[in-house]
Symmetry: C3
């Protein structure tokens, strides 16, 4: 079974940023994303969002270069003002050509 | 703390395939799965499913052999006709004997 | 782009344990968590929870030491009585100082 090593970017943030984050994902060069409603408690604000859908989690499978571009946008334009978690996981994808 | 290295198969696909994918997970030898409603945008169709629950994400923790068997089924029977994302992540599991 | 290697603890369990698991996450030293409603089928009970929200998935990004402390609590106090899946994934996080 042939799989392709790619990078998954996971982003957890406030639901009100949904459309802006989707635009950033596209701007970074990624071809798609998965979006999941969630809630949680952050490390700094200790703001509890108990209502389902208050937060949103994006998962974006893309190249390491696109992933780093997306993280840089988030780091520069979102981290200073918004509650954002962003991290990378290494994954092995079926039909990797779809993502590049 | 003793943990066991296993493989997580993540599958994102159309919600209408739910029962068929569950049957394939079992047929591949996996002992269980987690299922999460999601939405998203794919790499080819650019079809946006904004309604929660339109898509579905499965997570299956199993052996590398079962994971590859499951990917082969998906690759052969589903990728040609359906919007499917499938990828592997290496994880370390508590009580690994539950999954094999 | 500078990222920091950290550990993600994923916990899937019965929704009724929500408040207790949140307390254990804090007791283990983690600074936050993400919580997602899910359903699924376990490896032992073969109990199907088809209703959304019957199960719950926590994701906790923290140090390896905190992650192992959390797993030990789960292993000792929850695995004997409850349906619990717990596993670790290595991730690379933006602004890692938020999590330690």
């Amino acid at each position: 079974m042939q799989t392709f090593p790619l990078t998954k970017v996971s982003i957890v943030t406030e639901a009100l940023l949904k459309d802006r984050i989707i635009a950033e994902i596209r701007a970074a060069g990624a071809k798609g994303y998965t979006m999941i409603e969630c809630s949680g408690e952050g490390s700094r604000q200790r703001r509890v969002s108990e209502i389902l859908g208050d937060n949103i989690k994006f998962e974006v499978i893309t190249t390491q270069a696109n992933a780093e571009r997306l993280l840089q946008i988030l780091q520069h334009d979102y981290f200073p003002q918004y509650a954002v978690i962003a991290y990378l996981t290494q994954v092995n994808v079926v039909r990797g050509d779809k993502y590049v």
